[in-house]
Symmetry: C2
Amino acid sequence: MSNAASRIGVQGMGKGKVTIKDVAKVAGVSTGTVSYALAGDPRINEKTRKLVEEAAHKLNYIPNEVGRSLRSRKTETIAFVIPNTSSHVFSHPYFLKLLEGITEVLEEYSYNLQISTTPSEKEEAKAYDKILRSNRVDGIILSSASLKDRNILRMVESGFPVVYLGKWHHEEVLTVERDDFRGAYEAASHLAGLGRRRIVHISGPLDHQESVDRLEGYKQALSDHQILYDASLVVEKDFSREAGAAAVEELRAANVRYDGIFAGNDLMAIGALKQLKRMNIAVPEEVSVVGFDDIDMADAVTPELTTVHQPMREIGRMAAEKLLAVLQDREVPEKRSIVSTRLIIRESCGGQPQ
Amino acid sequence: MSNAASRIGVQGMGKGKVTIKDVAKVAGVSTGTVSYALAGDPRINEKTRKLVEEAAHKLNYIPNEVGRSLRSRKTETIAFVIPNTSSHVFSHPYFLKLLEGITEVLEEYSYNLQISTTPSEKEEAKAYDKILRSNRVDGIILSSASLKDRNILRMVESGFPVVYLGKWHHEEVLTVERDDFRGAYEAASHLAGLGRRRIVHISGPLDHQESVDRLEGYKQALSDHQILYDASLVVEKDFSREAGAAAVEELRAANVRYDGIFAGNDLMAIGALKQLKRMNIAVPEEVSVVGFDDIDMADAVTPELTTVHQPMREIGRMAAEKLLAVLQDREVPEKRSIVSTRLIIRESCGGQPQ
DNA sequence: AAATGAAATTGAATCGATTCAATAATAAAA
DNA sequence: TTTTATTATTGAATCGATTCAATTTCATTT
């Protein structure tokens, strides 16, 4: 059946698979002893342990993780769940960084990572249920999602070990958050500090908490600089480059005048830069632009993009560490972790590094 | 122990987990019948099947996948393995596209995806063995790696279901490949066609097959345009932006003159663009630049990058389809699939779309 | 030398499904 | 009605580990 399953054969496979029974037989002990010995249980006599280890090594024994999981009720696997949003998260560069951070930590602890996107809307609830209850994973890192998503709510509040990447309205939930408000505040403040008075904000979807927080930070910065909030300067878009370009185009069509843009993320900022260039509007001379994320490409565009740096890799690391702490019954130092952002001054705003 | 494992509780969880026994009891049949019924086995009478389905639904039964896997020897999970290379693949944008393609297909078939990076060199062989033999996954999609990597060899030739993303020297191995030679040939030919005569090639690491093929394509193009191959115009780098910039800097230091650059990938091309700008060398007027990959950001830089498009998402899809065909004992139309590339003309080469 | 206690080991039960071989129920043919 | 097929269902075995409770071994104390 399984085509050529052992055509060449991995070292030590012999005729069939090597199980714990084989090891027990060779070592001349019971399977129980083998299990304890290989787990390093102190009950087992040092000499016996050595014996078992030798036998295991000789047979090139690799435990069947499925058998192990069934009995011990642990899979040593966690899922990284990416909710099914209109703007598919995969297309966002920062996602890679997150993944990088997560895998680094998991490797360290020999945990496995499962990537779970969710299938099309239909049966979505079922899909989540399956992740929670099919016993395939021990815990979940959940990428932030729409505030309206009921399934996320169920997931986070199910009692299943979850770390949520974003703000959650409930104290008990484990989260790793960015300080979106402060990041946005600093970005907008910087623009205001440069003398910009009509600052556009290209917002991400406002059913996402981070978009809301960034908008609030922007508003606060305006207020602190005695700039009146003008709703016509705020456009809600979807985090994509195309949306950034479209926003600028729409502003032109609506004849809105402005001297600064604070975009809700770098992709939109880059899209905006492009459109401004097409319209022959000089950046930063006529319009200053600031983004959010500090993706790798932020300093590859012309002019180099001033932006709010978020340590996505670190966030990934923290989330994984936190989840593993729970799974391994270790101390979790803090339920909510808030990582701070930092404004990176480049060319697109026309300012100087402080 | 498991902190608040059922503090809130998912719908239908009741006091404990719902197993197949519970369903059997409620439906008034044996567990065997439940199993067959839910699997849609034709042996089971229609009426009984309905009965079982109702019971399962009422109890909100979700099968324990671990139990299932143990007996049936199928996990419905595949691994995407990213070999541990110096230039960590995660940092490359095209990786995301690959992942996107893979997950799309897996979703369709309700398969799970495990991401396996490999830990630091030590124990790497062991790590691979574990993937192959711990029974956690049914098959593997293997990202291309160094030609020298012995572990990859073992993995691909183990007889375990593997799809390799790249060229393999053995007919029997399932692969999805780009036509690197042809892509490079077209890129370099285009430059030559524009009258460029001293064309630099910034190559990726030459222990990677794709780098070799691209170099060969470049050489062939030169030859076909009566341009003598000049080894001093070829520099071997590591696929990173920094490396691209460094290459240009080194050429300057060595006083090499050139009027075109064909970079082994877009990141290096973008790094080169940046360095050329710093050195006040006009692109495309003085030097034409062409990249490889067509990452999302290729048209975000200034000037927009001419490059060889590879359908990474499609490659991901094809690899997943191919692997699933094997796992589900379906027909595999072709062992080797070669997807073609296509030159995308933008601003950085100074040419016109044909 | 017997009794006691501690340490080491064993063997069976268990986890939750699938699947095999045996049996029961039903329908068709003799 | 009995026999033969055919269809449905069952119950137990099985997958490969972990883990519980019981037992054996060994060292120590009386």
